[in-house]
Symmetry: C2
Subunit: 373 residues, 2 copies
């Protein structure tokens, strides 16, 4: 079957590229003697998880309990849920543990730590303390007094076990260049290693010292003191990662297949049936490359970019591509196919319930994914 057999818009995944991306990351982490715990928030697919954990021990990271349940159902039991848990989700977490999940939870809050310590769900929750290594989202600074307080609360509780510390160097996405990413990789490492040292000095256990983002996993050079890395978007990469020098163009595994639905000659634009839902409204690559808009338009077979053609505007089911000249209409007649490279693979993929997996231009498989919460 070829691409013409699909109804558009459709999510296309290049198996050779995913395999190359995941193999390269697994080999780099193995060479550094560090465990790879890929963050499956991007792919949300068991078939991609199999590739991403190959050569490692099958440990994974998730961003929702719906992902945790899906991956447990698909044979992945060593799961870190890397968003701070709230007390209201402990019952759901305990239910997964009773079904066999070796689940690690996350917190940066004294109040949540107390709720976990006081919980009575018939399980012992393994809990990581989140460290803010510069991302400025969640997490404690490594020298925050609450670090020892939370560690002490968890370590002393029957219903909890202090599993270690975790950070996400997400500010690596905002680095100016590869040297900037390398500096942030070192900041990320130092912060979480410092936190682990403080816990141990206080007589508390800290078996896990977890860091990771795709840029810091790609460009980091020193993982001393860490036990694992948790990159996510490296499985597919995207225009945003490309703009930030975290990958090369041939590493982009994900694209959206779309049909040309209209030639609007009085405006000078071609319109496709991939809009705000099919591409998402994420324009993160525009910070570096404002010209790419909502996505870069490519030949559907060769995946070569069609010079100057980008999705400049979207409405719910329409993507607008300003033409560069009269030739574009002939090159892309109404009904013809294009493939659009998205800004941010994690966000675009979330609109779809499956990947159409290709080798070259042939559809060779269909892989499911889990969405929602």
């Amino acid at each position: 079957m070829d691409l013409k057999s699909l109804s558009t818009p459709a999510l296309i995944l290049d198996r050779a590229v995913v395999t190359r991306n995941t193999t390269r990351m697994a080999e780099k982490m193995a060479a550094h003697g560090i465990a790879l715990r890929p963050h499956l928030k991007t792919a949300k697919s068991a078939r991609v998880a199999e590739l991403a954990t190959s050569g490692h021990d099958g440990a994974i990271t998730v961003s929702t309990l719906a992902e945790a349940e899906y991956f447990l159902d698909h044979g992945f039991s060593d799961i870190t849920y890397a968003v701070c848990v709230v007390p209201g989700k402990l019952a759901q977490a305990a239910a997964l543990m009773k079904r066999g999940a070796d689940l690690k939870l996350l917190t940066d809050s004294v109040e949540t730590a107390r709720a976990i310590a006081d919980a009575d769900h018939g399980v012992t929750f393994k809990v990581l303390i989140e460290i803010d290594s510069g991302d400025a989202r969640t997490g404690l600074l490594a020298d925050d007094p609450n670090l020892i307080e939370i560690g002490t609360i968890l370590n002393g509780a029957q219903s909890a076990e202090l599993a270690g510390v975790l950070t996400h160097g997400g500010h690596s996405y905002g680095a100016d260049d590869v040297d900037g990413i390398k500096r942030i990789a070192e900041d990320e490492r130092e912060a979480v290693v410092e936190a682990s040292a403080r816990l141990r000095q206080a007589g508390l256990p800290c078996p896990t010292v977890s860091a990771g983002s795709t840029p810091t996993a790609v460009h980091g050079e020193n993982y001393d003191g860490l036990t694992e890395m948790r990159p996510g978007v490296f499985v597919f990469f995207d225009l945003d990662q490309l703009a930030r020098d975290a990958c090369s163009r041939e590493d982009l595994a994900l694209s959206v297949l779309a049909s040309v639905v209209s030639h609007n000659r009085h405006i000078g634009q071609i319109v496709i049936d991939a809009g705000a839902l099919a591409l998402s409204k994420d324009i993160s690559a525009n910070e570096r490359w404002p010209q790419v808009g909502y996505g870069s338009v490519c030949d559907p077979d060769s995946m070569e970019p069609l010079e100057g053609l980008n999705v400049a505007k979207v409405s719910q089911e329409h993507g607008v591509i300003p033409v560069t000249g009269e030739d574009d209409y002939a090159r892309l007649p109404v009904g013809s196919l294009v493939r659009v490279l998205p800004n941010h693979a994690c966000i675009t993929a979330a609109a779809y319930d499956r990947y159409h997996v290709v080798e070259g231009t042939q559809i060779v498989d269909e892989w499911d994914r889990v969405n929602g919460w």
Copy 2:
């Protein structure tokens, strides 16, 4: 059951507000003697469709063939698919017609019209010609010579029937004020009525003269020559419509329930578990109201806005709310609930497979929705 029983993030729909919004629109259209063909691209839910078509004849508009199939399965057969069709989707459209759908297709293309005229799927496709009344997306200008050519191709074909003309005054979203919306409503009407007159002068039939956007349906005063209006987001409204004076604050029916997962005091922010996926990256209301960011934070019970609290940044599963002072931490402890008003209901709702329907703070029902393509 109250909101505390839900796992967050969750999509909350206020039944009293939806009922009021849909009743008001139905009454206005009935008072003008014009059919209401609500655009279900926003709600994608049969239960909302029942409310939105109440008092009218059950005709609806959809933005995908997946919606058409879902609504057909739920007893809605009079369906306009209001995105230009491509030849590759005709087989799927024909299959729905054979199952009982009275489906209307759309085109602005001579090439597509020829493909429809030459199609051999055992059905007669009813086809509307799209007119660009100023939205500058798809559609022909009312005086485009292709209008008559497409009409002639379709009218002369065994496999097609010329059903009329359709326009969407989507540029009403960009109007400066209510007077601007009223002017665009008149432009929208005039363009599609002019196109219908040209077809009839050429001896071609034009039974349907269809227009509509929520702002032009709310503020329009003259529908002479139109047969139907197709507003969509009016069922829920949202911050973007509120910013554009298309509704009042009490008309906002949709919100996202989220939990506070972290207090990041070294930055000065509260973090919730509703991020780029749960809220979407749509920030359309920011054009008028840059302060609302990714959403306005409200008390979960009263739905009163928490003064000064908005989601300023999102990552995939995190929403960051800068605090206005130390009191905010006490007001919103870790684990507490908030409800966030989204910028754009159509895009936010697409991340969810169901609505948790409330009356006041009590959950009274769960309504499904259809996503994907």
